[in-house]
C-alpha cells in the first residue's frame, strides 16, 4: 500500500500548505496558529528534506559498500585466472637428467629437471656468471616447471635427447609483474620483491617475445598446494558438489514432507505449535552450533569419518531444513482451497489431493526455496570447520567418505596463508564461489518468474 504513496507525496504537502493558508484569509482568531505554522513551515520542510536525504544516503551507502566489496575482490582476483609463461629452449640431455637408456619410473621421478631448467636459463643468459646473479636468474621459473617437464617426459619418453621448445610457468613474482603490464624499463616504478637485475632479465625475455600470458588452467585442474602457482580449486569444487548433493538428497524430501505434514495434515493443537516454534527458532540458531552438534553426535558418537562430505552434507542439511520448510509451507499455503475442494469433490482421498494436485502446483515455489537454501549451504563455512573440513586437500575427493574441503573453507584457508600469491588466489576462488551463488539465485528467480501463478 505504501508503494502508491510516493505519487501522492507532492499532493500531500500541497494540502497541508492549503490547510495552513486558507484559514488565515478569513478567520482572524486563528491567525496566531496560522502564523505559528507559517513561521515553522520552512524548518519543517527542511527537516522533511533532510529525512528523505537520510533514507537515500542509507541506501546509497549500503549499495556503495556492495560495489566496493565486489570490485575490490574482482580486481584482486582477476589476475589469478591468467598466468605468465616463459619460453624455454632446452635440450633434454640424458646425462644432465641422470637418466639411463630405458629409464624406470623411479629414475624418472628422481631425474634432475631443476638442473636442466637452470642449465637452459644459463644458456639463455650466457653473460651471467656471478653466483648471486645466477641464483636470481633461477628464481624466475616456478618450481612447478619441473613437474611439467616430468609429466612431458613420462608421457613421451622418446623426447629425451632432443631439443624442445616449451613454455614453463613463471615464478609468482615475475608473473605478477608481467601480468600487471608495468613498464619494465623503469624498475623503480614497479612494486615487487624482485631485484632490479631480475627485472632486467624479465625485460630481455619480454622484449624478445619469450613471455606470454595465458589462461590459468592449473587453477581449475589442481587441488590445494603450498605453492601459490600450483594451487587450484578443483578439489574444493568437487568437495562442494559432493557435500551439496548430500545436503539436497537429505534436506529436500524431509523438508517437503515436513511442510506437507504441518500445512495439510497436522491437527491444530499444542504439539503442532511446539513444532512450528521450534522450526522458526532453528532457523535463527547460529550455524556454528550446528557444527558443534555434528562434531559431538556424528563424529564422536557415531564415529563417522572426519572431513568427509557425507558428514558435512548432513550438518548442512540440518541447517537448511528450516529454510526449506518455511518456504515450502508458504508455497503450499498459496495454493487456493478451491483446488483442494474440487479434488475432494471428485472423490480423491486427502493424500491424493496433496500428491496429485496441491504439491505439483506448489512445486515451483518449493524448488525456489530449496535452491535458495542450498545457496546458503554452499556459502557456509563455520559448521564445516567444526567437523574437520579444514584439512589441506591435494587429492581430488572421489567419494562421499573421502577427506574433502569445500570452496568457502578453501577461501578461508588461503586467506590465512602468508604467501602474497594466495591473495589473488583467494579472490579468484571468491569470484568462482560468487559465480555459483549468482547462478543458483538466477535459476531460483527464473523459476519463480516462469512458473509462479497468481490465483
Amino acid at each position: 500500500m505504501t508503494d502508491s504513496d510516493s505519487g501522492k507525496d507532492s499532493g500531500d504537502s500541497d494540502m497541508s500548505k492549503q490547510n495552513a493558508a486558507q484559514p488565515s484569509t478569513n478567520d482572524s482568531p486563528k491567525r496566531d496558529t496560522t502564523s505559528l505554522v507559517k513561521a515553522t513551515l520552512a524548518r519543517r520542510y527542511a527537516a522533511e528534506k533532510r529525512f528523505k536525504f537520510y533514507g537515500i544516503f542509507a541506501i546509497a551507502a549500503s549499495l556503495a559498500f556492495l560495489v566496493v566489496l565486489l570490485t575490490s575482490i574482482f580486481i584482486k582476483g582477476w589476475p589469478a585466472f591468467t598466468h605468465a609463461y616463459v619460453k624455454m629452449n632446452m635440450t633434454l640431455d640424458a646425462d644432465t637428467l641422470g637418466l639411463s637408456e630405458n629409464p624406470t619410473s623411479q629414475e624418472l621421478r628422481a631425474a634432475n629437471f631443476s638442473g636442466l631448467i637452470k642449465e637452459s636459463l644459463r644458456e639463455r643468459f650466457p653473460d651471467v656468471t656471478k653466483r648471486k646473479a645466477k641464483k636470481e636468474l633461477y628464481q624466475l621459473i616456478s618450481s612447478s616447471g619441473e613437474y611439467q617437464l616430468y609429466n612431458m617426459v613420462k608421457d613421451n619418453p622418446e623426447i629425451v635427447g632432443t631439443t624442445i621448445e616449451t613454455w614453463l610457468p613463471a615464478d609468482d613474482e615475475l608473473a605478477a609483474v608481467l601480468k600487471s603490464g608495468d613498464d619494465l624499463s623503469n624498475p623503480e616504478s614497479i612494486v615487487t620483491r624482485m631485484s632490479d637485475q631480475q627485472i632486467g632479465f624479465a625485460k630481455t625475455l619480454k622484449d624478445a617475445g619469450e613471455t606470454q600470458t595465458r589462461f590459468n588452467k592449473v587453477f581449475f585442474t589442481n587441488g590445494d598446494s603450498r605453492e601459490p602457482e600450483q594451487a587450484g580449486i578443483k578439489a574444493a569444487l568437487i568437495g562442494s558438489a559432493l557435500t551439496l548433493l548430500v545436503t539436497f538428497i537429505l534436506s529436500f524430501p524431509i523438508a517437503v514432507a515436513a511442510a506437507i505434514y504441518l500445512e495439510e495434515f497436522a491437527p491444530q493443537n499444542k504439539w503442532t505449535d511446539i513444532v512450528e516454534v521450534n522450526i522458526n527458532n532453528l532457523a535463527a540458531v547460529p550455524s556454528i552450533v550446528f557444527g558443534l552438534l555434528g562434531l559431538a553426535v556424528f563424529i564422536n558418537f557415531f564415529h563417522l569419518p572426519r572431513s568427509a562430505p557425507v558428514v558435512g552434507g548432513i550438518v548442512l542439511s540440518l541447517m537448511t531444513l528450516p529454510t526449506i520448510i518455511i518456504a515450502s509451507r508458504a508455497a503450499l499455503k498459496a495454493v487456493p482451497p478451491s483446488i483442494r475442494e474440487a479434488a475432494r469433490g471428485l472423490g480423491a482421498s486427502e493424500q491424493q489431493v496433496v500428491w496429485h494436485h496441491v504439491l505439483p502446483l506448489a512445486m515451483p515455489g518449493i524448488l525456489t526455496g530449496t535452491i535458495i537454501g542450498l545457496a546458503q549451504a554452499l556459502g557456509e563455512t563455520a559448521p564445516l570447520l567444526m567437523i574437520g573440513m579444514v584439512a589441506f586437500i591435494v587429492d581430488i575427493p572421489a567419494g562421499f567418505t573421502d577427506a574433502a574441503t569445500v570452496l568457502p573453507v578453501q577461501v578461508f584457508l588461503w586467506a590465512d596463508s602468508p604467501e602474497r600469491g594466495f591473495v589473488e588466489k583467494t579472490s579468484a576462488a571468491i569470484i568462482v564461489l560468487l559465480g555459483f551463488l549468482i547462478l543458483m539465485n538466477a535459476v531460483a528467480v527464473l523459476l519463480r518468474k516462469r512458473f509462479e501463478r497468481r490465483w
Binding site: 541506501i59 504441518l262 556454528i288 552438534l293 562434531l295 558418537f301 578461508f412 586467506a415
Partner: protein, 462 residues
C-alpha cells in the same frame, strides 16, 4: 560389499515387489470383474508390497551402520597388547586409530609391528563379516516383508489406507526431525558442557576475567595452567555486536523507511533485491574483505590522526558485520512498516503533518514493537556470526571496551579451540562446548523474545 551396493539391491528388490504387487492386483481384479471391484487402485497394492519390502530393510541398514563402528571397535579390544592397555584409555584410543589407519591403507604388510598387522587383518575380517551379514540379513528381511504383504493382497484388502498411513507416518517423522535436531543440539552441547563444568567451576567460568585455555599437554610443561574466565569473551562479543548494531540499525531502518514510504514502486523493485545481495554474500567473503581491506584502512586512518589502532581492531570486524546485517534490519522493518494501516498515515496527513513527521510520530511508534523484534533477531545473528570475526578479529582475550583494540569473541574461541590438534577430553576442547551452550542459550532467548514480539504485533492489525 559396500553399503551403496546393499542399498541399490534393496531399492531394486523394492521396485520388483512393487511391480509384482501391482500385477497380482490386476490379476485378481481381472478374474473377478475388472479393476473397479478392487478396494484400492492397483498401484496402491504395488506400493504396499514395495514399502513392506523397503522400509524394514532400510531401517536395518541404517541401524546397523550407526552401531557398527562402536561394536567393531569394542571387539578390537582383545587385540590391544597388554603393554598398551596399561598406559591408559588415551593410548588405547590412539593405538586403535593406528590400526584403523593401517587397515584402511590397503597395504597392511608395510607395517613392521606384527601385533598391529594381525590386529589390522582381524579388523578387516570383522568388517567384511559385518557387511556380508548385513547384506544377507537385510535382503532376507526385505524378501520376507514383501512376501508377507504379497500374500495379503485380496480383492477387498484396504491397500490405500495402509499405504497412506505409512506415508503419513513418514511425513510426521520428517516434521519431528526439527524437534530431534533441537534435542540433539541441547543434549550434545549440554553434556559436553557439563563435563567441562566438572573440571572448571561454573562460577569461575562466568565471572573469571582471565581467558587462556592453553592447558599443559605434558605434566611437566610450564606456564600453561589454563584459566577459563569467559568475561573477556562476553565483553568482546558484546563490543563487536554493539558496533555492528550501531552500523546496521540506522542504515537498515532508514533504508526501510525510504523504501516503504518514499520510493516509487519501480525504485523499490530494483533497490530491494540489490540490498538483499548483501545478505546473500557468504560470510567468509566479508571476513576476507574485513581482514584485508577494511582493517588496514581503519588502521591507516587512525595513524593519520594519531591514534594507535590494532590491525585486528574490533571496529573493522564490527563495521563489516554491521553492513552484512543491514538487509536483515531493513527487510524485517520494511515488513512491519508496510503493515501499519494506511488510515493512520492518512489521519496524520489530514492533520497537516509532513511526510517525515507522519513517519516519525505515527508510523514509527506504531511499528516500533515489530522493529524491536527485527533488531533483536539481527542482534542474535551478530552474536552468532563466526567467519567475519574469525578472520578479522583477534585471538587474544583482552578485557577492554576500546573499539580500536583487538578483542576476541565466543565464536572465535570455539573455532580456535576445536580446529587445533587436541585430544578430545581435555578441558580446552570441552570449553568450546560450554561456550557453544552459552551461545545457543543467548541466541535462543533473543529469538524467542523477538519472534513473540513480532507475532504479537502482527495480530494487532491483521
Amino acid at each position: 560389499m559396500s553399503t551403496t551396493t546393499i542399498l541399490l539391491v534393496a531399492v531394486c528388490l523394492a521396485f520388483v515387489s512393487f511391480v509384482m504387487g501391482r500385477q497380482k492386483a490386476y490379476r485378481i481384479a481381472g478374474s473377478s470383474g475388472g479393476v473397479n471391484q478392487l478396494h484400492s487402485l492397483p498401484g496402491h497394492y504395488g506400493l504396499m508390497v514395495g514399502l513392506w519390502c523397503a522400509l524394514p530393510a532400510l531401517a536395518i541398514i541404517i541401524g546397523w551402520k550407526l552401531f557398527e563402528g562402536p561394536i567393531v571397535s569394542s571387539l578390537l579390544d582383545n587385540s590391544v597388547p597388554l603393554a598398551i592397555l596399561e598406559q591408559g584409555d588415551k593410548r588405547i584410543e590412539l593405538y586403535k586409530n593406528e590400526i584403523n589407519n593401517l587397515a584402511a591403507s590397503g597395504n597392511i604388510t608395510a607395517d613392521p609391528d606384527p601385533a598391529k598387522k594381525q590386529a589390522a587383518t582381524h579388523l578387516n575380517t570383522l568388517r567384511s563379516y559385518s557387511s556380508v551379514a548385513l547384506f544377507l540379513f537385510s535382503i532376507a528381511v526385505a524378501i520376507i516383508g514383501a512376501a508377507l504383504a504379497y500374500r495379503k493382497i485380496k480383492l477387498k484388502t484396504r491397500a490405500r489406507p495402509i499405504v497412506e498411513r505409512i506415508i503419513e507416518f513418514f511425513l510426521l517423522a520428517s516434521a519431528l526431525i526439527a524437534i530431534l535436531t533441537t534435542v540433539g543440539i541441547v543434549f550434545s552441547v549440554f553434556f559436553e558442557a557439563m563435563r567441562f563444568f566438572s573440571q572448571v567451576s561454573v562460577i569461575e567460568f562466568i565471572t573469571g576475567t582471565k581467558w587462556s585455555p592453553q592447558t599443559a599437554i605434558r605434566v611437566d610443561q610450564a606456564g600453561s595452567s589454563g584459566s577459563f574466565g569467559a568475561i573477556p569473551l562476553f565483553l568482546g562479543t558484546l563490543l563487536i555486536s554493539a558496533i555492528a548494531m550501531i552500523v546496521a540499525v540506522p542504515f537498515g531502518l532508514m533504508s526501510a523507511i525510504y523504501l516503504a514510504e518514499y520510493a516509487s514502486p519501480r525504485t523499490r523493485a530494483i533497490v530491494k533485491p540489490l540490498l538483499e545481495i548483501l545478505a546473500g554474500i557468504p560470510t567468509v567473503v566479508y571476513g576476507f574483505f574485513a581482514a584485508l581491506t577494511v582493517a588496514p584502512l581503519i588502521r591507516n586512518l587512525g595513524e593519520h590522526i594519531g591514534l594507535s589502532v590494532s590491525s585486528e581492531s574490533a571496529l573493522a570486524a564490527g563495521t563489516v558485520m554491521g553492513i552484512m546485517i543491514i538487509p536483515f534490519v531493513s527487510s524485517l522493518s520494511d515488513d512491519v512498516i508496510t503493515a501499519v494501516p494506511q488510515a493512520m498515515r492518512d489521519g496524520s496527513s489530514g492533520l497537516g503533518a509532513t511526510k517525515s513527521e507522519t513517519v516519525r510520530k505515527v508510523v514509527f511508534p506504531a511499528a516500533l514493537p515489530g522493529i524491536v523484534g527485527g533488531v533483536l533477531l539481527a542482534a542474535s545473528r551478530a552474536i552468532g556470526e563466526t567467519m567475519i570475526v574469525v578472520m578479522a578479529a583477534g585471538l587474544a582475550a583482552n578485557l577492554t571496551i576500546n573499539p580500536l583494540e583487538a578483542v576476541t569473541t565466543v565464536t572465535v574461541q570455539i573455532v580456535t579451540l576445536l580446529t587445533g590438534d587436541q585430544e578430545f577430553d581435555s578441558a580446552k576442547t570441552l570449553a568450546a562446548f560450554a561456550l557453544g551452550l552459552l551461545l545457543f542459550i543467548t541466541t535462543l532467548i533473543l529469538n524467542v523474545i523477538a519472534l513473540r514480539v513480532v507475532r504479537k504485533y502482527r495480530e494487532q492489525y491483521d
